[in-house]
């Protein structure tokens, strides 16, 4: 017996290894995401290799170019029909490139770009040891009030890491509304959440509050991620697949083949319902819907104000995008089950946000509750379950982003010795001392309140119209009542600014650099343009309102 024959008794020749196919990646369609991620990675390298004094400029340049280029890429894709006729699913089924995805990505990129300007603002804080400083801590690792912190301040350190962090967050947000399977969804969620947790902790002043906010955000975020992940597992058990289209097929009962390993659980409606509810919960947490809203006021208040503005705008856009895709692509067959539940959520979100905002005394908390109420309004559009629902939500998100970023940018300008003067009593009489700033803020407040000729009105009208057409008339009634309640506290701030006597020790309004001026100017311009002539943008949102499946 030859050795080889003996050997063959207990061994057998392996089949020739079949070649592992390289995944097919459509770099062109993914370019917006890839540009931002690439710039983020480059930003990390900049932190490592570029001299400290040059970093700020290099990072700012890099980030602005990256976001602008990504936006250009989105526009390019939209113009070449990838939002409509050539919409498709790319990256082996992981990412959808379609109208809603491109519209939301464009919105996120623009919001990110104008937010970035406020990140880079260095003229508001008084000069520390001969160096201009921004809103971020000198050295994140130094404990608040410690000697090492003082040393870092004295050395003029600044945390330029915020730029790559913001880029990573933006990258995650770009993927989130485009994710076409549940795993991608989850990864995207974590990719944009983790940098946000960090950014929240980096305030230069009131560091303890800032760190507390970050820890709360992190804990509760992790908690909600757990729900989301568990929901994903249940849905996998139900459908045997993570892809949106696959799950939708099982929900609709049009599936052809069943994986024998999953035959026991597949099609079990309990798994579907519980799983869907848990996934929904994870997304509702990100949009700040009641009762998953409680992190919002604390985090919005504690985070550095530029981060708050960015977070309030871009996170909402991304999360509502993901929610829309989930509900309209994966779960339309289940709409009889989730619509009543979301009705309830929308109603308490609108009412609670508006009601609790009335007694707030801090402008950032006030805006936080206002953002909760607005989340409720947007949910009303989501529930509409028609094409107008999609387009109205897209439009609302665009309008709301710029109002929010603009409003928080104005908050960064009103300062006293302790940094930003966020207590409302200090805003008394601001209109007499700084009429321009107060007037700009009034424009944003009117937009929040949904007064005609501002984008807020156009957005709210679109959303409520879609909801009413979708058979959610009662929801519209509640929405209008909440709007009325909300108008009270918005107008109250205007009254406070213009019709109260200024306090002698009141805050001063810092003169910002062109960066923040650009942000505020763009905010006002978009608010008024979308308010006075919304038709073009409504049409754009209409054209972008078809999901690919």
């Amino acid at each position: 017996m030859s050795a080889s024959a003996v050997h063959s008794l207990w061994t057998t020749a392996a089949e020739p290894v079949s070649r592992i196919d390289a995944p097919h990646i459509e770099y062109g369609q993914l370019s917006p995401i890839l540009i931002v991620v690439g710039a983020g990675v480059l930003g990390i390298l900049v932190e490592a290799f570029v001299a400290r004094r040059a970093r700020y400029h290099v990072q700012l340049f890099l980030s602005v170019v990256a976001l602008a280029a990504a936006f250009a890429a989105v526009v390019g894709l939209a113009v070449t029909g990838h939002g409509s006729t050539k919409a498709g699913i790319v990256a082996m089924g992981a990412i959808a490139v379609d109208g809603p995805a491109l519209f939301l990505q464009g919105t996120i990129l623009l919001a990110g770009l104008v937010s970035l300007f406020t990140f880079a603002e260095r003229r508001l804080d008084p000069v520390a040891h001969g160096k201009q400083v921004d809103s971020f801590v000198a050295q994140a690792g130094a404990p608040p009030g410690s000697k090492s912190e003082q040393a870092a301040v004295k050395a003029g350190f600044t945390t330029t890491e915020v730029f790559p962090l913001a880029l990573f967050a933006v990258a995650g947000m770009l993927v989130f509304p485009a994710a076409n399977d549940l795993l991608t969804l989850f990864i995207a969620l974590e990719v944009f959440s983790l940098p946000l947790y960090l950014l929240c902790a980096l305030a230069r002043r009131k560091r303890l509050v800032s760190q507390e906010a970050a820890v709360k955000y992190f804990l509760l975020g992790a908690f909600s991620s757990a729900f989301l992940l568990f929901g994903i597992a249940l849905l996998y058990g139900y459908a045997g697949t993570l892809s949106y289209a696959g799950i939708a097929e099982v929900v609709d009962g049009t599936v052809t083949s069943i994986d024998p390993a999953l035959a026991d659980t597949m099609g079990n409606d309990a798994l579907l319902l519980i799983g869907a509810a848990m996934v929904l919960m994870g997304l509702l947490f990100k949009v700040g819907a009641v009762p998953f809203h409680m992190w919002t006021p604390d985090v919005y208040q504690g985070a550095p104000t530029p981060v708050t503005g960015f977070m309030a705008a871009a996170t909402k856009v991304a999360a509502f995008g993901a929610l829309l895709r989930l509900l309209y692509v994966v779960l339309p067959g289940l709409s009889w089950d989730w619509r009543p539940v979301l009705w309830g959520v929308a109603i308490i979100t609108m009412l609670l946000g508006a009601i609790v905002a009335i007694t707030q005394t801090d402008i950032k908390r006030l805006l936080a509750y206002s953002s909760i109420a607005h989340g409720g309004f947007i949910l009303a559009g989501v529930i509409a379950m028609n094409e107008a629902g999609i387009s109205s939500v897209l439009f609302y998100l665009l309008a709301y982003s710029f109002v929010t970023i603009g409003a928080f940018s104005v908050v960064t300008l009103v300062r006293d010795a302790g940094g930003e003067a966020t207590h409302l009593s200090k805003w008394a009489g601001l209109g007499r001392r700084s009429p321009l700033v107060a007037a700009v803020f009034a424009v944003f407040l009117l937009a929040f309140a949904g007064i005609p000729l501002t984008s807020g009105f156009a957005g709210k009208f679109a959303v409520f119209k879609a909801a009413a057409e979708g058979g959610a008339g009662a929801l519209v009634v509640v929405g209008v009542i909440s709007s009325a309640i909300a108008a009270f506290f918005y107008i109250r701030v205007i009254v406070l600014m213009f019709f109260s006597e200024p306090r002698p020790e009141g805050p001063t309004v810092a003169v910002p650099s062109p960066l923040t001026m650009t942000t505020i100017g763009v905010g006002v311009a978009v608010t008024l343009v979308l308010g006075v002539a919304p038709q073009y943008f409504l049409d754009l949102a209409n054209q972008a309102s078809v999901f690919v499946r």
Partner: protein
């Protein structure tokens, strides 16, 4: 440049002036009044160019239109900013810009010492622009814009000396009374839209004339238009603002009475002639309003000692003539407009003359403290005197031609109505002669009666500067010749006929008899006034007077009536509404607000700052969410 495209320039020039003067700030203080005057004159020049151009065309092709832009383009609702320049508009344009420019020029001197002169000229320009918009609009909605603009400008100008409480009150009164009329116009426009689906002149008027619209609707529209006209033209029952409006600077009074504002009502009714022709009931109402106001204004004018208020009464009465004429239909329209133009000349002249007198008399307005001024102000005397002869209808002068035609047309109405209207117009002519002679005698003749005032400043009557006398002289020419010129070969009637239609009236008695009667009553009026004020010295303090005199001094108790009916009634109504508002509405509102606030305070406590509580609430929320989803499936 195409002549159509020049129409907008008519409005643009004074509008530009208003914007520049009102926004220009102090640096224009020294030149502002000339800018305003020049722009008014520019508008007049454009008007003349368009006029000559229009004369060069056939009667059928004289209507020009210019479409500027679509104002509110909505499906089923088309509002355009478009102008229409026809013979009627052209007449008004020349009157408004011509007399307006003269008044601007006069104001340069009159307002010389006023530190807010720049603003005054800005308002004057605004007034012209609004009035031009009113007469040039090619639809009722745009007309309404001009209409409201006139209301605003008159408010600003009557209350120009706002430091005087009386002026501020008068402005408010004019504005409020006008609002009542404005409501009429807006309702009329709404009715037009529901009836005809449009408010452009062309379709509305041709549809009214076609006769397939129900007469009831047309009557309603007509009555609402009449209400509007009553407000702007100070006709009974909305006349009460006109007398108080004398609180404004005198050039403003001249502008309001001669070229703008009060003529708007006449324009509106004439323009809407097709509607009134098809609604005899509305037409009758117009005639009645005109006849009543004619006498009302004349009686008030007889009793006033304030020179401007006497003239105001006269305006009311003369506008009454015009409104009456418009109510007569196609036999009256052209004479209404003709009287409007001649009245524009002599009334502007009279007001400017009154202003000139006041200018020389330390702003004294009480005619009992004038007397014998003809020696001190010869130019004013001469021009005022010519205006006086014109308004009383002295044969050959402007007023004679136009008023006589209206009286003829009134008789021509036929039947009892014709006799009544004829008698009323004749009586009006007698009263006009009486009160105007009274004004003339008290001001320029007799002994001088002025005395030093409380601070011992005796007035030193003197002639006014050139900038004031030149406009008066120009207007005096108009007062003398315009009427005759218009009546030559019935040229004015022929000119307006394509727009307003024109029929010869056939009075039951011959025109010669009517003319004789008119001259006779005029002489009677003059004679009576001469007996009372020329032969006897005028007492410096007014005698108690008869019951009628006292009532007429109080504007025939119109304010008292308004007070009792409207103010008291309104007060009661508001008081009860306030009660309901405080107890019921506020109770509900405040109660809701308080409970929402309380709820807010309580809900706020849930936000206690502990991450663990938040996590619990999330957990609970998730549980509820899952349970609810499962429940939905179960039910």
């Amino acid at each position: 440049m195409n002549t159509e495209n020049m129409i907008a320039l008519l409005i643009a020039a004074p509008l530009l002036g208003a914007v520049v003067l009102l926004c220009g700030g102090r640096r224009l203080d020294r030149t502002g009044h000339w800018i305003g005057t020049l722009l008014a004159a520019a508008s007049f020049v454009v008007g003349v160019v368009l006029f000559t151009d229009m004369l060069g065309r056939d009667a059928e092709d004289r209507t020009l239109s210019q479409h500027l832009f679509s104002w509110i383009p909505v499906e089923g609702f088309q509002a355009d900013v478009a102008f229409q320049l026809d013979q009627l508009s052209m007449t008004f344009v020349l009157l408004i810009t011509g007399v307006g420019t003269l008044i601007h020029l006069y104001s340069v001197g009159y307002m010389e010492h006023d530190e807010r002169r720049r603003r005054f000229f800005g308002f004057l320009n605004l007034f012209l622009a609004a009035m031009l918009l009113l007469v040039l609009a090619d639809n009722y909605l745009l007309l309404y814009v001009g209409w409201e603009g006139v209301g605003l400008a008159s408010y600003l100008l009557i209350g120009f000396w706002q430091h005087k409480p009386s002026a501020a009150t008068a402005a408010k009164k004019a504005f409020l009374v006008n609002r009542v009329g404005d409501m009429g116009l807006s309702i009329a426009i709404l009715l037009m839209f529901t009836t005809f689906g449009t408010f452009a002149f062309g379709p509305v008027l041709s549809a009214s004339a076609a006769g397939d619209t129900s007469e009831g609707k047309l009557t309603a529209i007509g009555l609402m238009l009449l209400l509007a006209a009553c407000g702007k033209s100070a006709q009974v029952p909305l006349q009460s603002w006109l007398g108080d409006a004398m609180e404004g600077p005198t050039p403003v009074s001249a502008l309001i009475h001669a070229a703008t504002m009060v003529t708007a009502g006449v324009y509106l009714i004439t323009r809407s002639g097709a509607i009134f022709n098809a609604a005899p009931d509305a037409q009758l109402a117009v005639v009645v309003v005109g006849a009543v106001t004619l006498l009302f204004g004349a009686i008030v004018g007889c009793a006033k000692d304030d020179i401007k208020k006497a003239l105001a009464g006269s305006t009311m009465s003369q506008i009454g003539y015009m409104i009456l004429a418009t109510g007569l239909g196609p036999i009256g329209y052209v004479f209404a407009i003709m009287h409007l133009v001649t009245h524009g000349f002599f009334k502007a002249g009279l007001f400017l003359g009154a202003g000139s007198v006041m200018h020389g008399m330390n702003d004294e307005v009480d005619m009992r403290k004038y007397g014998g001024l003809r020696k001190y102000m010869p130019v004013t005397f001469a021009t005022f005197g010519l205006g006086y002869l014109a308004i009383i209808g002295f044969p050959g002068l402007s007023g004679f031609w136009s008023k006589d035609k209206i009286i003829e047309a009134a008789f021509a109405q036929g039947g009892t109505e014709g006799w009544i209207l004829g008698a009323v117009t004749l009586l009006g002519a007698a009263l006009t002669a009486y009160y105007m002679t009274r004004v003339m005698l008290m001001t320029f003749f007799g002994e001088k009666r002025w005395q030093p005032d409380a601070e011992g400043n005796a007035p030193h009557p003197h002639e006014s500067p050139k900038s004031m006398t030149i406009p008066m002289i120009v207007l005096a020419f108009g007062s003398v010749f315009a009427g005759g010129l218009f009546s030559l070969n019935e040229s004015f009637a022929g000119w307006l006929e394509p727009v307003t239609a024109f029929e010869h009236g056939h009075p039951p008695i011959s025109a010669g008899v009517i003319m004789t009667a008119t001259i006779t009553v005029m002489v009677l009026g003059i004679g009576l006034a001469y007996v009372q004020y020329g032969r006897r010295p005028v007492p410096v303090t007014a005698p108690r007077g008869s019951l009628l005199t006292r009532a007429a001094r109080r504007d025939l108790l119109q304010d008292d009536l308004n007070h009792v009916v409207l103010v008291r009634g309104g007060e009661h109504l508001t008081r009860s509404l306030v009660y309901v508002d405080h107890t019921l509405v506020d109770g509900v509102v405040n109660g809701t607000a308080a409970s929402v606030g309380g709820l807010s305070g309580r809900l706020r406590k849930l936000q206690n700052g502990f991450a663990r509580s938040y996590a619990v609430s999330m957990f609970g929320g998730a549980a509820v969410l899952i349970a609810a989803t499962l429940l939905m499936r179960a039910v």
